[in-house]
C-alpha cells in the first residue's frame, strides 16, 4: 500500500520529481566522476610508469613518488655505478620536467639508447627517434588529443620543438626529448631525476634492490611493483582533501535538493497529512511515507546519475583522449549510499514536521 501510495505521489508531480531526481543524479555523477578522474589519473600514470619496463626505480632521498615534483638532484654518474652491479642488466637515467605551457604535461628527457635498453624501445606510429636537441617524441594519445602531426612544431617548456615521431603510449611520459638538451635548458647539467633499472631476471629484483641500497644509502629505491601500489590519492598532497571536499559538496547538493523538495511536498500535502491522521495514521507511519518517497527518488536519482556518469565519461574522453576516468563499482555503491543517506537526512526534518502537524489545522488547510 505504501509502495503504491509513494509511487503515485512521485508520478503525480512529474516536474518536481524530475528536478529532484536530476539533483540527486548530479550529486552521484559528481562523486563518481571526481573519484573516477583522480583514480584514472593515478592509475593511468602508474600504468605508464610500469610500462617503462623497469624493475626498480631510484629517486633522490625523500623524493615524492610524483617524479615531476622532485627536481633533478642526482648526478648522472650514478648510472655507471649501477651498471656495475650484479643482477643489473640496464640503467636508464631520466630527467623529468613539468610543462605548464599549452597544457599540463610531464616531459621525460632521455638517452635513447639506455631508455631503449630498459624499455625495449618505442613503437613508432610515424616518424623517427630523437636525433637532436630540438626533436620531441609525442605519444599517440597526446597526438590525438592535441591534433599533432609529425613535423609539427610544439612549444614546450618555453622552447620550440619539432615533432620527430609519434609513438605508442605507455612508456612513462607522453613527451620525450633528448636528455642533454633538457639538462642544458633547465640548468641541470649531468643530473637526473630518476634512474630506471632493469634486472637480468625479474626474480632478482629483491637482491638487486638490496645491492643498490648498499650502494646508495638514503636514496629512494623502490621495486616498481611497490611504486605502483603507492600511487593512491592519499599519497598525493591535497588530493584526498580535494576528493573529500568534492564529496562534501555533492552531499550538500543532494541534501538541499531533497530538503527543499520534501519540504514543499509536505506543505502542498498538508491536508492529505490531516486526512491520514484522521484515519489513525501514527507519526511513524507518516514519517515512513515521507522517507520511503525520498528513498525512491534517491534510487531513481542514483540510477540516472550512474548512467549520466558513463555518458559524461564518454563525452570527456572523446574531447580529451588523454583523460582517463575510471568508474569503479565500489564508488558506484558508495555514491549510491551517499545519495540515499544524504537524501534521508535532508528529508528528516520535513518528515518530522509532517508527523507533528495538528490534524484539525491540517484538514482546514487550503
Amino acid at each position: 500500500m505504501i509502495g503504491h501510495m509513494i509511487t503515485q505521489n512521485v508520478l503525480h508531480r512529474p516536474v518536481r520529481t524530475l528536478i529532484t531526481v536530476i539533483g540527486v543524479a548530479v550529486e552521484v555523477t559528481l562523486v563518481i566522476l571526481v573519484v573516477g578522474l583522480t583514480t584514472g589519473l593515478l592509475t593511468e600514470s602508474a600504468k605508464r610508469t610500469e610500462g617503462v619496463g623497469a624493475d626498480i626505480m631510484i629517486q633522490p632521498p625523500s623524493a615524492s613518488i610524483w617524479a615531476a615534483f622532485s627536481g633533478a638532484p642526482m648526478p648522472i654518474s650514478i648510472a655507471g655505478r649501477l651498471r656495475g652491479l650484479d643482477y643489473v642488466q640496464a640503467v636508464a637515467p631520466v630527467l623529468v620536467q613539468f610543462n605548464s605551457v599549452n597544457g599540463l604535461d610531464v616531459v621525460y628527457g632521455i638517452e635513447p639508447s639506455s631508455f631503449r635498453a630498459v624499455s625495449g624501445g618505442f613503437v613508432f606510429h610515424s616518424g623517427h627517434d630523437l636525433e637532436n636537441t630540438d626533436d620531441i617524441l609525442v605519444d599517440d594519445v597526446y597526438a590525438k588529443g592535441k591534433r599533432v602531426k609529425t613535423g609539427q612544431t610544439l612549444h614546450i617548456l618555453g622552447h620550440d620543438y619539432k615533432v620527430a615521431g609519434i609513438v605508442e603510449h605507455g612508456k612513462g611520459a607522453r613527451l620525450f626529448v633528448l636528455m642533454s638538451g633538457l639538462q642544458e635548458m633547465s640548468g641541470a647539467i649531468d643530473k637526473a631525476s630518476i634512474f630506471f633499472v632493469k634486472c637480468d631476471r625479474s626474480d632478482h629484483t629483491p637482491a638487486a634492490t638490496d645491492e643498490i641500497r648498499g650502494l646508495l644509502p638514503g636514496y629512494e629505491i623502490r621495486p616498481l611493483k611497490d611504486f605502483i601500489s603507492l600511487m593512491t590519492s592519499s599519497n598525493l598532497p591535497g588530493l584526498s582533501a580535494f576528493i573529500n571536499v568534492m564529496i562534501s559538496i555533492a552531499v550538500a547538493i543532494g541534501f538541499l535538493v531533497i530538503f527543499l523538495s520534501m519540504y514543499t511536498t509536505i506543505i502542498e500535502r498538508t491536508r492529505e497529512i490531516g486526512v491520514l491522521k484522521s484515519l489513525g495514521a501514527s507519526k511513524g507511519y507518516i514519517v515512513d511515507i515521507i522517507l520511503s518517497e525520498t528513498a525512491l527518488l534517491c534510487g531513481f536519482g542514483t540510477v540516472f546519475g550512474v548512467g549520466l556518469s558513463f555518458l559524461m565519461r564518454w563525452v570527456f574522453t572523446s574531447i580529451f583522449p588523454s583523460m582517463t576516468i575510471l568508474i569503479l563499482p565500489k564508488w558506484i555503491v558508495f555514491s549510491a549510499l551517499i545519495a540515499i543517506c544524504g537524501g534521508l537526512l535532508g528529508a528528516a526534518y520535513p518528515a518530522w514536521v509532517a508527523s507533528r502537524k495538528d490534524p484539525v489545522e491540517a484538514l482546514a488547510y487550503e
Binding site: 503515485q8 484515519l279 490534524p359
Partner: protein, 227 residues
C-alpha cells in the same frame, strides 16, 4: 445500555495570544450504540469543534470524553491516534480523499492503517453496499461529488469502527446527491447498526437521524427525537 459516547462538562478553549475563545462550554452529550444523532446549529456554534474533540483529533481543555469506555481527555496524542484508528470513522464535508489514489486504494488505505491487513471479503461487501463496484479504479477527479462522498463513507466504515463522525457530509453536494448520501447513512445505521453522529446545518438532513441535538454558542441547548 452503556453509551458508546459520553461527554461530561466538556470545554474547549482556543487561545490566541491573550485572547481566549471558548468554542465548547460545558457540553454534555450521550450517544447510545446504534443511534444516529444529528447535531445542528448556526455557524460558529462549536459543532465541528465538538466532532473533533470526541473523535480525538483535538484535545479538550477540560471535562471528559468517554469513547467506548476510553477517556480521551487523559490520553496522549499517540493513544488517541490509536483509538481513532480502531474505533472512529470520519466523513468530511470536502470528502478529503487522497487525489493521487483511486477509489479502491483510498478505501484500502484505511484498512492498511488499521493494521489488520487487507480483507477482500469486507472490502467487497462495503463496495457493493455503497454502489462503488464499477467505480473503484477511478481517481477522485474522475468521480462525481456524490461518488466521492460514498468512497469517503466506505473508507470510514471499512474497518468497522464503533462510531462514524460525519462533518456536514452533504455540504458540498447537490440535492439529489445529498439525499443519496443521507439515505446511505440511514441504511448503515438501520441495517448494520452503525452508530453515527452527524453535524449539519440543514434541518432536512437532520431528520435522517433518530435524534437531533441543537447547539448554540458552544452549548447544547436542547435535543429532540425524530419520529
Amino acid at each position: 445500555m452503556e453509551p458508546i459516547l459520553k461527554t461530561e462538562n466538556l470545554w474547549k478553549v482556543y487561545r490566541t495570544g491573550k485572547v481566549e475563545v471558548p468554542a465548547l462550554r460545558g457540553v454534555d452529550v450521550e450517544v447510545l450504540p446504534g443511534e444516529f444523532v444529528s447535531i445542528m446549529g448556526p455557524s460558529g456554534c462549536g459543532k465541528s469543534t465538538l466532532l473533533h474533540v470526541i473523535g480525538g483529533l483535538a484535545q479538550a481543555t477540560r471535562g471528559r470524553v468517554l469513547l467506548d469506555g476510553n477517556d480521551l481527555t487523559t490520553m496522549s496524542d499517540s493513544a488517541r491516534t490509536l483509538l481513532r484508528r480502531h474505533k472512529v470513522g470520519f466523513v468530511f464535508q470536502r470528502f478529503n480523499l487522497l487525489p493521487t489514489l483511486d477509489a479502491y486504494h483510498n478505501i484500502a488505505l484505511a484498512q492498511h492503517i488499521h493494521g489488520n491487513g487487507f480483507d477482500p471479503h469486507r472490502f467487497e461487501v462495503v463496495a457493493n453496499l455503497l454502489g462503488l463496484s464499477q467505480r473503484l479504479h477511478h481517481k477522485p477527479s474522475e468521480l462525481s461529488g456524490g461518488e466521492q462522498q460514498r468512497v469517503a463513507i466506505a473508507r470510514a466504515i471499512i474497518s468497522e469502527p464503533k462510531i462514524v463522525l460525519a462533518d456536514e457530509p452533504t455540504g458540498n453536494l447537490d440535492t439529489k446527491s445529498s439525499e443519496a448520501v443521507l439515505s446511505l447513512l440511514r441504511q448503515l445505521n438501520k441495517e448494520l447498526g452503525q452508530t453515527i453522529v452527524m453535524i449539519t446545518h440543514n434541518p432536512d438532513a437532520a431528520t435522517y437521524g433518530n435524534r437531533v441535538l441543537h447547539m448554540r454558542d458552544g452549548m447544547v441547548v436542547n435535543g429532540s427525537t425524530v419520529h
